[in-house]
Amino acid sequence: MNSASARRIVPDAIARQPWEMVIPLVLLTAFGGLVLYSAGGGAMQPFAASHFLRFAVFSLMAAIIAAVPRNVVRAVTYPGYLTVLLLLLAVEVVGAVGGGSQRWLELGPVRIQPSELMKPAVVLAMARFYETLPLGMVGTWRSLVPAGMLIVLPMGLVLMQPDLGTSVAIAFGGVVVMFLAGLPLWWFMLAGGAALGAAPLVYFFALHDYQRARVTTFLDPESDPLGAGYHIAQSKIAIGSGGIFGKGFNNGTQSHLNYLPEPHTDFVFATMAEEWGLAGGLFVLLMYGLILRWGMKVAAQSQDRFSALLAAGATATIFFYIAINLLMVMGMAPAKGIPLPWMSHGGSSMMTNMICIGLLMMVNRWNQRAPRRGLASR
């Protein structure tokens, strides 16, 4: 929070805003727009303009979310979760009827990707579940099974689309909430061990060929330099060739000459790094760090279990996007269709992340209204 003197000069309504998050977020989005301007061949169209427009629209949405009272949130959480779950089911049905897999629903002019909405919805539902779970039951199967169902159901539906990346993102948000809810530590260790053991089985029996190719390529990038490994190899070339200060704005050859696949979505960081170098990369990492630190701070300052779990889960969801995308473009994770928040061109991820930001701002507002009680902190 700002100092007392600052609060006197600046109107309270403005000083109340979470500037330590808003400023990095705006800088990051603006920088993302700049990179998209270059990726669009040095023009606002087709990427940069819509990027800014979406940010404006979703900022408004975040502001609206931030204003929702606690009771309303508690009331709509489960119905909301159920609605999104039904939408996911509808995607499957439409896909089956239409003959082919798809990930979105056409609702009039709007194209909705329910799997994206599911990420904040799971976090909300989980937070609500652990808020209502009697404290004594934490550590019993009753704390695990319903929550597990809340995660597994959407995961299964998303996996059927098939979209491994998003289903893992959903699971990640949910598991982080479970972890913070105080479930026994050894459960997570056991699950981790089981996951490691099951990995080969999943690899050989559950994955699609193209997914398997991504994993193989990740483990041995040289195995197919012109096929699946091409994307990551070109991304590393883009990042590595940028050096410390980059090749200069609009001078990236990897992106401009189409060597970099999807320079405006999945590999936007590589596009940026080629032109802005390590300096640009560290700036981006710093902005993300500030945003995530603010998110964790909001969680830590929350006065009740629901707010705390919700804030931490929303932060984890944002973090998951950032981490997987950056690990991927730097050749440390298999290639997946996970965009980079506020930099990649694309509405769905922008929406998800802005919903998370909105939820965090909401919790932050609650925290300011009623600061955490000293008693609970001890």
Binding site: L135, G136, M137, V138, G139, T140, W141, V176, F179, L180, A181, G182, P184, W186, W187, Q234, K236, I237, A238, I239, G240, S241, G242, G243, I244, T253, Q254, L257, N258, Y259, A273, E274, G277, L278, G281, L282, L285, Y288, G289, L292, R293, M296, A299, A300, R305, A308, L309, A312, A316, F319, A323, L326, L327, M330, M332, A376, S377, R378
Partner: protein, 714 residues
């Protein structure tokens, strides 16, 4: 319901779970999660620093090699020039299309589409398909060159649908006189896979790059090649060129300056006409080879994109072997053209040239009679008359006296059996038989008839047209003239004197009399005042008398016609030899020598004679070749076998056949040759260009003329 394995966890260490414990757990675990996030952030920062700093150099290089595409520009080949600097082989700017088989997805469909766009003939399309299927992926296959701009543009816009197709602007080899220089210059073609393996230079598999495959093109390959240029262009991932970055021009190969006189070479080649033969002309004051024409020939321009199957079949089926360079690889019994040389040997052995021998139409040695070509006999014959009347009996008699060895030694000194130091891919050097040679080769004793045969240039004696021309030069000058083919080679042999000048004078006069006196080649007189040609006729029998009379019947059994000459006779400047395979006698050869020499001294007059002849023949040699190709393709185009994949196989086959052909006369060497009449003894100078002699004179005509001969000489 309580699952037993969960009960332990639910009541961890028996503590009661309350809100503050959970809050503390939350705080601890939130710190942990924050730590993990920070850790991953640090990991990412480190990783990025590693990529951007430690590996920056590597990735910058890779990014550059992505972005920049280096294409080699095939160097322009050095020109091959004649002695006056006129090109015999030059380069022509053109548009061309090549295929790179390994880049093609559907070869057959792509080639069909190309055939449609470029309006290629079906046989050509079949050839290309054949080549693509047998080639090794990386070696380019030429589709067409010499395209016009519209075709080139039409192709260029369709490139995205035609993977593996490479249209480009470049230079192609051009031989202005086409088939006239085919054997001499050779031709160029794309490097074969074997050649690339031997010399894995990337320029060799650059589309449009050609190397010398035969003749001088192959011989001077190193110098002609030049240094390739390079073009650096910025390309997109899909290969589209964004812009040129830098271009290094190619360095053209160094030209080769030949001693050949281009117009003369062309003239001689055309003058051979419908016959199969060769003309060699030398400057006997320098040894310069002015002309080495061998016909019929192939068009080196059409070979540069590979030898087409129809074209190859046509050339192969031709019994006049258009693929054989007859100047170097045709071996013929020299016939009576050796008589001036034998005379030199006799003079050297101290035979008095004025000593007379009586020729009664034959010479009896022991119980055998060796006939003279003139059955009636020449009467009293001295050496000069022996030459200009080509009296066989005179030489039989004298050769019996001196023996074979001095004659064989003289033959070698005159260049027979000699391999010359010339930049040619290969040359045959023939045979000068002597007793030692015969014993070694055949294990048989030298017989009287061997000497008899050898003195009239028959039997085992074989020489190439080039050797005959050298012999003419050496006889004419008395010097050991060495032929040279490039202007940068030093004239050689002029410091060594082969013959005393009085011997030279004598032989010159006798050889002049062959043409200008009462000799056997009266029709060879030049239609030019002040310039007199000297020469010696020769008619070489190839099969025994029982098979053919040498003048009619199947072409391949007819006699070879030969003529060696020099001019002007008293101060020789040019010397040469004309050999017409199966021409039916020397009458086929010396009119050609006459016209070629005429052209040397008076090009307009020479041309006039040729134009008249070509009207009868149906066009120039090149026009007739093209006409024959069209007819052949129309008749048998569909049913040809494909040519050998490698040009070397063709060369080997041609060479092997040439060797076999050279042994044709061995069959009759083991017996006495009954000499053929020395064709046209009429001493009437040709007022008008004589009638062409593609067909030999009728058999009735010749004895009649022979009868008239003694009167003239008397």
């Amino acid at each position: 319901m309580r699952l037993p394995f969960l009960s332990d966890g639910s009541l961890r260490s028996g503590r009661v779970i309350n809100a503050s414990i959970l809050r503390a757990t939350f705080d601890r675990r939130a710190v942990l999660i924050g730590g993990v996030q920070g850790g991953i952030g640090a990991l990412l920062a480190l990783r990025m620093g590693y990529l951007a700093i430690a590996e920056n150099e590597k990735y910058r290089l890779e990014s550059e090699s992505n972005r920049v595409n280096l294409t080699l520009i095939p160097p322009r080949r050095g020109w091959i020039l004649d002695r006056n600097g006129a090109p015999l082989a030059s380069n022509r700017a053109d548009f061309r299309v090549d295929l790179i088989p390994e880049r093609m997805h559907n070869a057959a469909a792509t080639i069909d589409r190309l055939g449609e766009l470029l309006a290629l003939e079906p046989t050509r399309i079949a050839d290309i398909k054949d080549k693509v299927s047998t080639s090794r992926g990386f070696t380019p296959v030429e589709v067409a060159s010499g395209l016009n701009y519209e075709q080139f543009a039409a192709l260029s816009v369709r490139l995205p649908d035609l993977p593996g197709v490479v249209p480009q602007r470049g230079f192609s080899r051009f031989y202005p006189t086409a088939s006239s220089v085919g054997h001499l210059i050779g031709y160029v073609g794309p490097a074969s896979a074997e050649e690339y393996e031997k010399d894995p230079n990337p320029i060799l598999i650059t589309p449009g790059y050609k190397i010398g495959k035969d003749g001088l093109e192959k011989q001077f390959e190193k110098g002609l090649r030049g240094v390739p240029g390079a073009r650096r262009v910025e390309v997109t991932a899909s290969g589209r060129i964004v812009r040129d970055l830098e271009t290094r021009e190619d360095i053209q190969g160094a030209p080769v300056r030949l001693t050949i006189d281009g117009p003369l070479q062309d003239y001689a080649a055309r003058r051979i006409g419908l016959e199969s033969g060769s003309v060699v002309v030398m400057d006997c004051r320098t040894g310069d080879l002015l002309c080495m024409a061998s016909m019929p020939s192939f068009d080196p321009n059409s070979f540069s994109d590979g030898i087409g199957s129809v074209e190859y079949a046509m050339l192969r089926d031709d019994e006049r072997v258009p693929l054989r360079n007859k100047v170097l690889k045709g071996l013929y019994p020299p016939g009576s053209t050796v008589k001036p040389m034998v005379s030199m040997a006799l003079l050297e052995q101290g035979i008095d040239p004025h000593e007379q021998v009586h020729c009664g139409g034959g010479l009896r040695v022991g119980n055998r009679v060796f006939g003279c070509w003139n059955r009636r006999g020449h009467g009293a014959v001295d050496m000069a008359r022996g030459i200009y009347q080509s009296c066989d009996v005179y030489f039989y008699t004298m050769a019996q006296r001196v023996g074979m060895d001095p004659i064989a030694a003289m033959a070698r000194r005159c260049g027979m059996g000699e391999e010359f130091h010339l930049p040619v891919t290969s040359q045959f050097y023939g045979t000068v038989p002597d007793p030692a040679w015969k014993m070694k080769k055949w294990g048989r004793e030298w017989q009287t008839f061997d000497t008899v045969n050898a003195t009239i240039g028959q039997g085992y004696m074989l020489s190439s047209p080039l050797q005959l021309a050298v012999m003419a030069s050496r006889l004419a000058t008395g010097r050991h003239v060495m032929p040279r083919l490039t202007l940068d080679a030093k004239p050689k042999g002029f410091d060594s004197i082969d013959f005393p000048s009085e011997h030279v004078e004598f032989v010159r006069q006798a050889m002049s009399d062959v043409v200008n006196g009462p000799g056997t080649a009266g029709r060879a007189r030049l239609p030019i005042k002040d310039v007199q040609i000297a020469g010696k006729t020769g008619t070489a029998q190839v099969v025994s008398l029982s098979i053919s009379n040498g003048r009619t019947g199947p072409w391949k059994y007819r006699d070879h016609g030969l003529f060696i000459f020099f001019a002007p006779f008293d101060n020789p400047r040019y010397a040469g030899a004309v050999v017409i395979e199966h021409g039916g006698g020397s009458g086929a050869a010396y009119p050609i020598a006459r016209d070629v020499t005429t052209f040397l001294f008076d090009p307009a007059k020479g041309m006039e004679a040729l134009t008249a002849l070509e009207k009868q023949w149906g066009g120039t040699a090149q026009q007739r070749l093209e006409g024959r190709y069209a007819t052949y393709a129309a008749e048998r185009g569909a049913a040809v076998r494909r040519p050998p994949r490698r040009d070397e196989e063709i060369f080997d086959r041609v060479e092997a056949e040439a060797r076999v052909a050279a042994t044709q006369t061995e069959a009759i060497a083991e017996d006495v040759i009954t000499p053929r009449s020395e064709a046209n003894p009429s001493a009437t100078p040709p007022a008008t260009p004589s009638a062409p002699t593609p067909a030999p004179a009728s058999p009735e005509q010749l004895p009649a003329q022979a009868t008239a001969q003694p009167e003239v000489s008397g």
